[in-house]
């Protein structure tokens, strides 16, 4: 353990001023007032002055490790800064040095020493099929592990679309019967940070919020922090004027594509996707899918893999209309059948016609 974080940063060449600016930026990104930036700075700066840095346990389930990869790209704070100075990352299979029994021991010690106070981060979905046998660590199924570790957690961060909504394992036909964290744990505060993977600074921003305030930020109906998932890509997209003007790229290298026109026709799911890509962007603000010329996949939305196709526009039916000709034929058959019945009825009525005489006018 080192001294106050602020000293660590100073040693690394980060001035106090720069550090405060970072906290202010983070606060404003999350639409928090300036005072929160100060609070964040004080909390993080003074963090080591507390008895311990907060314990964070990261459990990986049916995941591709993309979320871990993503968080390591966080530029501010860097993953190193986080784990060396701000938190105690007591269990993270990709990053930790230990393996095997030693790693298991670290996990159980952290759980025991910080019971009720550690932050549980989960990435990957939880398979329920075959009693959870599809994914096991140290002979224990993910389902069992989740329930066990969640018991002593202060809060759970479902990192990435798999943990938040089931992700790619859950896509049809869902052979492992994968479910999300919130499908399993019902009695702990859970925050979902979807994305495939989520934006790095979104992941660290939520952690910073928890470190600062000891609670999870305001969430939408799907448990996502509103600060980062409150607006659709479409509403923040820089290509929106082209959508409004009806200028669409029709192929990936036509004139429209090269002019940077809207990618709606190429399947962009921006209108139905809530995320911060259009504003925060990726790789430290370098670019994001649409800017690079590919439509949004909708990766922060539940079941986006089964959303009808990444290259099929939202206005197109998800499946081709294969019933059309069959329906027309069936309708014609029904109509003709009825018409025969009608004609028969009319002929029968005609055949049974009894010429009206005057007597027939009286009942």
């Amino acid at each position: 353990m080192q001294g106050p974080l602020i000293d660590t940063l100073a040693r690394q060449g980060v001035t106090r001023r720069t550090f405060f600016k970072y906290c202010a930026t983070l606060a404003s990104l999350m639409a928090l007032p300036p005072s929160a930036g100060r609070a964040m700075a004080e909390a993080m700066a003074a963090a080591p002055a507390a008895a311990k840095r907060p314990s964070v346990i990261w459990l990986p389930f049916q995941e591709c490790t993309g979320c871990t990869e993503s968080i390591t790209r966080s530029h501010s704070p860097t993953i190193e800064g986080l784990i060396f100075d701000a938190i105690s990352l007591d269990y993270q299979e990709t990053l930790m040095a230990a393996a095997g029994h030693q790693a298991e021991e670290a996990l159980h010690k952290a759980m025991k020493d910080n019971e009720g106070k550690y932050l549980l981060v989960v990435d990957g979905s939880v398979p329920l099929g075959l009693d959870g046998a599809y994914s096991c660590i140290a002979g224990k199924s993910n389902l069992e592990a989740l329930k066990e570790v969640a018991k002593g957690a202060a809060a759970i961060v479902a990192m990435g679309s798999c943990a938040a909504f089931g992700g790619i394992p859950k896509a049809k036909p869902n052979p492992t019967n994968a479910v999300s964290v919130s499908d399993v744990i019902k009695d702990k505060p859970i925050i979902n940070i979807p994305g495939c993977p989520p934006i790095p600074v979104v992941m660290t921003g939520v952690l910073a919020h928890f470190l600062t305030f000891g609670s999870l930020p305001e969430m939408d109906k799907l448990g996502r922090p509103k600060a980062f998932y409150g607006e659709t890509i479409h509403d923040r997209c820089y290509r929106r004027p082209f959508y409004d003007q009806g200028k669409f790229a029709k192929t990936f290298d036509d004139e429209g594509a090269r002019k940077g026109w809207c990618l709606f026709e190429l399947g962009c799911k921006g209108p139905v996707t809530y995320n911060a890509c259009a504003t925060v962007k990726w790789n430290g603000g370098t670019s994001w899918p649409v800017e690079s010329g590919h439509g949004c996949l909708g990766c922060s939305e539940p079941d986006f893999w089964d959303g009808g196709g990444f290259y099929k526009a939202l206005s197109m039916p998800a499946n081709p209309l294969k019933m059309a000709s069959a329906a027309v034929a069936a309708g014609a058959v029904a109509g003709v059948a009825v018409s025969f019945a009608n004609r028969a009825k009319k002929s029968a009525a005609k055949a049974g016609h009894e010429t009206t005489t005057l007597a027939d006018l009286e009942k």
Partner: protein, 421 residues
């Protein structure tokens, strides 16, 4: 045999065709037809909405000729028609509908409601639900030869009177004549001047014409009661007479529904095109006028207006001729508002005038005609339908309006100079 519900239903099944099916499926309940019907506008009672008058027809169509309707009938969601219902509908189908056709003109989806009322009457009459008044008229037309019970001797007597008064012979059963003239009961009994007028006009025009002893009556009560079998019977007499006498043209008199029955429904009733033409007397006069065969002298100087009979103008297509004729003999002819094709019905056509129970309603509906007349304040009212004349006179009397009603043909004839003068 007697009328039964079963017969009525069978007949209604027979009359269904694509037009009716199309109309019934197009109605969107907009209620505009009511705004065109004088029975609604003058009473404010929504039950007189034209499309509502044919509700039994709609239900029968749905239950018999649509798959969904049949299913609904099977599971009891749609009740079959009952005799009591048809009896209840008698007022709507007969008393409050003169087959004037205004509703068919305004319907935005194109429904020909008067066509459907006409067809519903087939079922009403076959099931015994036609009003007594029209039944009586039908009875007399079929058995005696005329709805008012006029027989050949009476006709012959009138012929003699006219011959004496006008000094012009009235031919009967003249084979090879160009025109066969028909009369309506009203004329024979109430307006014998009509026959004299015909005689004068024909003489001046130099045309050959004749009455027919077996077919002097034009009025078709079968049409009014809405029974094709009876209508056919009556029309056949005329067709037989015309073919027997080998005439070129049969003239329908100043009567509305007689013209419709013969000119438009006749060929369809007997199942083959006519071998002769059918013209309304006003059409013939119009032709004579254009050919210069109608020479008149003098003018009516009082303020005149014209009431277009529905079956002649809107339902018959004879609209301009009466105006040209009026202008030939009237100096002060003014049109009432809504004249011509969109004229309001007198309230007594389609057999309505024969229904005693409907008189109160007709009087109330007459307020519309009254308003037209009040707007134009004529000294006299001219028309070209004997039934309209009677109904107008009744209405005017009720509302104490001193406006004499005259027939156009007579008025024209009055201005034909005496032969040899």
């Amino acid at each position: 045999m007697s009328a039964t519900m079963e017969k009525g239903v069978r007949v209604l099944k027979e009359v269904m065709d694509a037009p009716i099916a199309s109309y019934l499926n197009s109605c969107v309940h907009c209620g505009l037809c009511a705004e065109a019907c004088l029975f609604y506008t003058e009473t404010g009672d929504p039950k007189y909405t034209p499309i509502h008058k044919i509700e039994p027809l709609r239900r029968l169509y749905s239950q018999e000729y649509t798959l969904l309707g049949r299913l609904m009938k099977m599971v009891g969601l749609s009740k079959p028609l009952t005799d009591a219902e048809l009896a209840e509908w008698q007022e709507l189908v007969y008393n409050s509908c003169t087959l004037c056709g205004r509703c068919s003109v305004v319907c935005p989806v194109g429904n020909d409601i008067v066509y459907m009322v006409r067809k519903l009457r087939e079922g009403m009459s076959a099931s015994g639900n036609a009003p007594d008044g029209i039944k009586g008229a039908a009875n007399r037309t079929v058995t005696i030869g005329s709805p008012m019970g006029v027989k050949l001797p009476a006709v012959k007597a009138q012929m003699k009177h006219v011959e004496d008064d006008y000094g012009i012979p009235i031919p009967m059963d003249q084979e090879g004549a160009e025109y066969m003239v028909m009369l309506s009961s009203m004329e024979i009994i109430n307006f014998p001047e009509y026959l004299g007028a015909i005689a004068k006009i024909m003489q001046q025009a130099g045309k050959t014409w004749t009455l027919c002893s077996t077919a002097f009556e034009a009025t078709n009560a079968g049409m009014q009661i809405g029974n094709s079998d009876l209508a056919r019977l009556i029309v056949s007499r005329i067709v037989d007479g015309a073919e027997r006498l080998k005439v070129k043209t049969v003239i329908s008199p100043e009567c509305g529904h007689a013209y419709t029955a013969l000119r438009w429904e006749g060929a369809n009733l007997i199942g083959r095109p006519f071998t002769f033409q059918v013209k309304h007397i006003i059409e013939v006069l119009g032709e004579f006028q254009k050919a210069g065969l109608l020479k008149t002298e003098g003018f009516e100087t009082d303020r005149l207006t014209f009431h277009d009979p529905c079956q002649l103008a809107r339902r018959g297509g004879v609209i301009q001729q009466q105006r040209d004729l009026m202008n030939q003999v009237a100096k002060n002819f003014v049109e009432m508002p809504d004249a011509g094709f969109i004229n309001w019905c007198c309230g007594g056509g389609g057999g309505a005038s024969a229904i005693e129970e409907g008189e109160e309603l007709r009087i109330e509906a007459f307020k519309k005609k009254k308003s037209q007349l009040d707007a134009v304040k004529p000294d006299r009212l001219v028309t070209a339908c004997a039934n309209c004349r009677i109904v107008l006179e009744e209405g005017l009397e009720h509302y104490q309006m001193d406006i004499p009603v005259v027939g156009l043909t007579e008025m024209i004839a009055e201005h034909i100079p005496e032969k040899g003068a």
